[in-house]
Amino acid sequence: MRVLVCVKRVPMTGGRIVLTPDQREIETRHLGFTVSPHEECAVEEAVRLIETHGGESVVLTLGPPQAEEQLRDAMAIGVDRAIHLVTDGEEWDPQATAAAIVEAIEVERRVGGDFDLYLFGNESADAGNYQVGIRVAYSLGLPVVTGVKALAVEGDRLRLEREAGAARDLYEVPLPAVVTVLEGINLPRYPSVPGRMRAQRKPIASSTPVRPTPRLEKVRLVVPESQRKEAEILGHGPQAAPRVVELLAELGVLP
C-alpha cells in the first residue's frame, strides 16, 4: 500500500513561551523544532503500516527550507521519501495549506499513482486549526475520520476507533481515505543511528508553491496569563502525611 503522511514544523517549546517583539511569532532563537505529538504518531503509524503490508510511505510538509529537518526525522524512523513544499516561512492558512497539499497529491498521482491512505495529525501544535486533513479529504472527495486512536487495515477497508468518553466509536471506511490521528495511537520509536544515516540519503522532492492571498490575517499572539507553574508545599517531613492522604482521597485514588 501507499501512505502519505503530512507534518508541520513547529517550535519545540519547553518552559515560558516568549514572543517576538512584534508579537506575531514565537521567539525561536533558543528553541529546537519538531512536529506535533499527533503527527509523530501519524508518522509512526505510516511506518508500521508499510512494515506490515509492504509498499511505500511518503512524508509531506509545507514549510520553510529548514523544515527539511522534520522530513529527515520522519525518514530516519523509516518513511521512504519526502515531498517538501517550500515556503518563505510565512504562515499559510488552513485553506491555502490544504490546497497546496491537494495540488501536490495530484502531481504525485500522475507520477506514482494513488495513495491508499492519507494520515494527518489531528491538529498542528502551534496554530491548532483542526482543518487541514478535513479540507484535503473534501477536495479529494474521500472519506475522513478525525481524532483516531486505533487503526487497522482489513482488506480494502480501514477499521478505526475514536474515544467517546468511556466508550469508543468504531468506524469502517473504504480505502482510499483520510485519517487524522491523536497522540497515543502508538508509541513512536526513536530513530536509530543507521536510520539517521539512511535518512540523509533518502530523496526529497521540493517545489515552491505560490502562497495565495491569505484570507485569514494573524494580528498578534497573546501568551495566556495562567502559564506559570505553581507548586503547593503540603508540609515538611512526617507532618505533611495527613495532608497528603487527604489530597489523595480528594483525587479519588484511594480505595
Binding site: R72, P194, R196
Partner: protein
Amino acid sequence: MTGFPSQARCVVIGCGIVGNSLAYHLTLQGWTDVLLIDKGPLPNPGGSTGHASNFIFPVDHSKEMTQLTLESVRQYQELGVFTRSGGIEVARTEARVQELQRRMSSAKAWGVEDVALLTPAEVKELVPFIDERVILGGFYTASVGVVDSLRAGTIMRERGQASGALAVFANTEVIGIDVERGRVRRVRTTRGDVETETVAIACGVWSPRLARMAGASIPLTPAVHQMIDIGPVPRFLESQGEIEYPIVRDMDTNMYERQHGTGLEIGSYAHRPILYDPDEIPSLEEAALSPTELPFTQEDFSLQMEQALELMPEIVGDERVGIKYAINGLLSLTPDGMPILGETPEVRGLWSAAAVWVKEGPGVGKAVAEWMTHGEAEIDLHASDIARFWPHQKTRAHVRARAAEGFNKTYGIVHPLEQWESNRGVRLSPFYERERALGAVFFEAAGWERPQWYEANAALLEEYGDRVGRRQAEWDARWWSPIINAEHLAMRDRAGLFDLSAFAIFDVAGPGALDLLQRLSLRQIDVPVGRVVYTPWLTPRGGFRADLTIMRLGEERFRVVTGGAHGMADLKWLLDHLPADGSAQVSDETSAWATLGLWGPRARDILASLTSDDVSPEGFPFATCRTIEVGPLRVLASRISYVGDLGWELYVPIEQGARLWDLLWEAGQPHGLVACGIGVYGTTGRLEKCYRAYGFELESEYTVVEAGMAWGPVKEEDFIGKEAHLRHRQEEPAALLCTLVVDDHRSSSGLERYMLGREPIVTRKGGRIVDRKGRGSYVTSAGAGPSLGKHILMAYLPPEHAVVGAELAVEYLHELYPVTVAVVGSTPLFDPENTRIRS
C-alpha cells in the same frame, strides 16, 4: 530556612560542581558566614554540571591539570560518588600511536601509574563491542571513572551547611555587584542586598556576565559540545549499575563513547566550533530542557555518527537502539584552554573559579579556597591564574578566535611548541619589519610576535657544519630549526642581536618604592643607583611567585623587568602590595620601551663603535645599568644576560626602536653580528648556563634552596616568604635542581630522538623517582647546548640521585634514554666561571 542574610564574609555565586566545592572548602579553611547562591533550583540549577558526561581521564600533558584532576578524583572517592570504569584512548593513526606513547610518559611524570598500552586485541577484550580492526592500539588508564557531580555538589553543600558556616539560597539571581574604591562591597540579588568584601564567581558559562557587573572580565566563551545517548543497548540490559565497560575516547575523531546504564553516550568535539555569548543563553524559564542543553543540530553530527558506527558497529549499528537524547550542551572554553582562577586584577575581593570542567571541579574548589585563605594554593596555579591575561587577550574577538581554534584540539595531538594561528600580529615590536626581511619565523609570546629563528641565517648551517646538530624525527624537529643552534654558535663566536620587546616593564617610584620592592624580593634591593638585581619573588610559603630583574634607576625609582608570559600576574602581585598611603606608584611601561639584547664576545666592540660613553669592563661592569648615548639615541643599557655572554639589554623608547636596530645592525656587520631568535634566548643559551625560568623550573611547589639559588646571606629586611625561606635553609632539601645531559639518543627504531621537556626522569631501569614530598622527577626544560654538543635537561632530583655523575634515564615517548647528572645546583655547564658574562 532562616531569612536571607544582609551580610556575609563571602558570597559564592553558582551551585555547580565548582561553587559547591569552593563554598565547602572555604568552610574547611575556617571561613564562617559563607553564602552560596544560584539563580536556578537545586540540586540542578541548569548549568553545565547538570548535563556533563561526568567521566574523568586523569592523564594530561599539563602537570597543573593532572594535579587538579587527581585531587578531584580523591575528593569524589571520599564523597562516595566515584565509579571506577577504566578508560581507553584509542588510536586510528600512527601519529596517534606516538601520542599515546607520549601520554604514557606524561602519566609517569605526574604519577598516574595504572596505565598501559594495549594492542587492538587487548582493547577488544576490555570493550567487546569495539571493532578492533579500525584501531592501531589503545592507552589504558585503569583509574578512569565516572562521577555523580550533582550528588557530589549536594553532599559538599550539605556538609558546609551542617557545619553552620554556610548558608545556601537557590532561586536567587544576582542583579548587581557593587564595587567601591576598587573593592567588592555588596552583591545585589532578587532576594535582597548582601554586604560583603569577598565574592567568588563560579557561574560557568555565565561567569563573564557576572564579572561584567563588577567591571571585571572573565574571558571565556560558552561553546557547544554535542552529545547523544542511544539505547537501550541489548548488551547493557543486564548491567548492574551505571557503567561496566571502560570509557572509550576515539581520539582521532575527537569523540568519546561511554556506557551510561542501558545506554551509550556518544560525545563529540569534532564539529564546527559553535560559540555563544553569555547573554544569548536562554533563561531557565525559556529553555526547553535547561539553559545549557540547547537544541541538537543534527547536521553537525552526521560525520560523527558514521565514525561511531565504524568503531562500535554492534551497538551503534543496531536498528533497535534508538537515539533517545541529543543535545548541544554548553561548556566553557578559554583562549588558552586553561581554567580561569584567582582574584580578578580589576576588582579586589572579586574571585573567579570559572572555565572548570567536572573532572577538575572539586580540586579547583579546594585550591581556590586555599588561595583565598593563604594567598596561595598547594598546587601551583600559574597557568590558570586569571591575572595571566593581557588586555587584548580579554577581547571578545580574541577569546572567540582562540576558543574556536582550540575546540577541535580537545583530543588533539598538540606539540609543546605548537603555535596558534588565529588572531596573530597583535603586538609588533618596532623591529618587526627588519625581522620579516630576515625571514624571521615568528612565535607568539603574550601576543607579541617574536622571532624564534631567522631563515636568513640558514647560511650559518654550512659555516658550523656538524656542530649544529640535526633532528631526524619529525616530532622532535617540529616547530624547531637547526638554524637556532647555528645562531647560538654565531652568538658565542661573535655577537647576536635579540628582540626582547615582549618583556613586561613596570616602573615603581616614590618614597615607598624601595620598601615595596624589598617586601616582595628575596634579594637586597637597597643597592646603589645603577645596579641591576636579579631576584625571585616568593609566595608566603617560600615557593617561587616570580623571577625578574630590578634596576635601580634613582633613589626612589626602580624598573622591574619580567617575562611577557607572566607579566600581568606579576603586575597584579606588585599592585596588590602597594602601600595604602600612596607613597609608591607603579606604572606599566611595557608599551613604552622596546628592548634589544646585544650579546657575544664582540658585543662591546659593536656598542663601543656607536657610543662615546664608557662601556669598558671597568666603566660598565656586570650587573649595572645606566643611560648611554648610542648614535643620536639615549638608551638605557643594562649589563646582564640570560644567554650568559658579554653584553647588554638596551631599552629605547618604542618609536626609536627601528633606528636602534639599524645602528646596531650596521655597526655589527664588520663583527659578524647575527640576528638571533628566542630559540637561543629562551632555550639553548639559557640551558647551557643552567639559568632557570619561571613556570618551568621555578614554581610555587619548589623552594629557593631546592632550585639551588640560596646563595649569599639572607637580607635583614622582611620580605614575603622570608620565614619559610629561613626554614628551608635549615632543612635538608627534598630535591635539588640538577642539569643532566643525554648520553645516547638512539631509539629502538634507530632514530635519534630529542626530548622536548616534561618527560619523567627515572632510574636506568625505568623506575619512577619520587622525592620525600611526593614529587616525581621530570624534565623541567630541555634543549640543545650547541657549544657543548649535548642535549641538556633540567630536573629536580631527590638528594640520593642529585649527585654529579649519577646515571639515570629519561623516558621519552615511552622509551628510555640514558642520562647523566652533570651539575647539581646552579653552576653553569658552559663557562662555569662566568668569565664571559663578566669580561
